[in-house]
């Protein structure tokens, strides 16, 4: 994406592709839906609050309705009983949507290799970024957000007139 870094050229304008413009817009306005089930939630709260401040990266809006959210943060252990709830929340989110699995439990089931716990969020829904740690430090969550932004910037975006053409 060649937009902000170099600034406007000598003619006072800059060029880009529509896809990267869309990616640029979307990566800095990720509305998040925190699905918090366990102790990693404390680290998420720390990452979202003033000291570490997710808002600096444009992910400040916490939306407690999946209809309004772009990014699902699954923070903590997901039990088998809860699996269908997570799935429903994910299905309710409008496209485009991204998912972050935060903490060892959401990534792989963590220490809970037993009858009650889902062994990794990706058994239920597709995951974009995995954040390991038990719990992960807030910096790790910020790093994951930067990685997700990178992914959003580089991915192909789906917009309506592009869809009609194909």
């Amino acid at each position: 994406m060649g937009m902000s870094k170099r600034g406007p050229g000598p003619g006072g304008f800059l060029t880009t592709t529509f896809n990267s413009l869309l990616g640029w817009g979307r990566k800095y306005s990720l509305f998040q839906y925190p699905f918090i089930t366990a102790c990693c939630g404390m680290e998420y709260m720390s990452a979202a609050a003033a000291r570490f401040d997710l808002d600096r990266f444009g992910a400040g809006w916490t939306r407690f309705s999946p209809r309004q959210a772009d990014m699902l943060l699954v923070v903590g252990t997901i039990s088998q009983k809860q699996a269908s709830v997570v799935r429903t929340v994910w299905e309710q989110m409008a496209e485009p949507k991204w998912v972050m699995a935060i903490g060892a439990c959401a990534v792989s089931g963590g220490i809970y290799d037993n009858y009650a716990v889902v062994q990794g969020l990706d058994e239920i829904i597709p995951v974009d970024v995995y954040v390991p740690g038990c719990p992960p430090r807030p910096e790790t969550i910020l790093d994951a957000l930067l990685k997700l932004q990178d992914k959003v910037q580089k991915q192909g975006h789906d917009w309506r007139w592009q869809k009609r053409k194909s």
């Binding site: 088998q80 009983k81 699996a83 269908s84 799935r87 037993n114 009858y115 009650a116 889902v118 062994q119 990706d122 058994e123 239920i124 829904i125 597709p126």
Partner: protein
């Protein structure tokens, strides 16, 4: 093993309802007769013993070593700050015991938990359903004979 004053009192009051009574590491323990357990529990709750609180009830799987499930109850007497542990062995061919839900209301959910995870049937329980696990879950996972790696997902895995 030493026997405290309370234990000799319990032994005197319920001679045919208990099998053993002893003190272990500062805790008074009574091993009860399964058939007479409800009568014993009522006797412990009422005066003069006055164990007004049921602190907890749980279960231990000793099927491998003693071929029984063992119910463990902890009662508490507020007036003299005393805890009493009551153990009730349940033979493997009859995993049932009287419900205490009529005597202590908190026994209701505690017994549902034990039913859910160990499969003990509580006779006289008002609503004996699973407490934690979901509908369609088969078996009782805290029993030693439940397969360690057995998984019962609510819907098929994406992988």
């Amino acid at each position: 093993m030493a026997e405290t004053q309370i234990l000799s009192e319990i032994r005197r009051l319920f001679p045919d309802k208990i099998r053993e009574a002893f003190s272990l590491l500062g805790e008074d323990v009574v091993v009860a007769e399964p058939k007479a357990f409800l009568a014993l529990a009522r006797g412990l709750r009422d005066k003069p013993l006055n164990y007004a609180l049921l602190l907890d009830l749980t279960c231990v799987d000793t099927l491998a070593c003693q071929s029984c499930l063992e119910m463990v109850y902890t009662f508490y007497a507020l007036d003299r700050n005393h805890r009493l542990r009551v153990k009730v062995p349940l033979p493997a061919d009859d995993l049932s015991i009287s419900s205490l839900a009529a005597l202590w209301k908190n026994a209701d959910w505690l017994e549902r938990e034990v039913y859910d995870l160990f499969g003990v049937r509580f006779e006289g329980h008002p609503d004996l359903r699973r407490l934690f696990l979901y509908d369609g879950f088969e078996g009782h996972p805290l029993r030693k004979d439940y397969p360690l790696r057995k998984r019962q997902p609510t819907f098929p895995s994406r992988k």
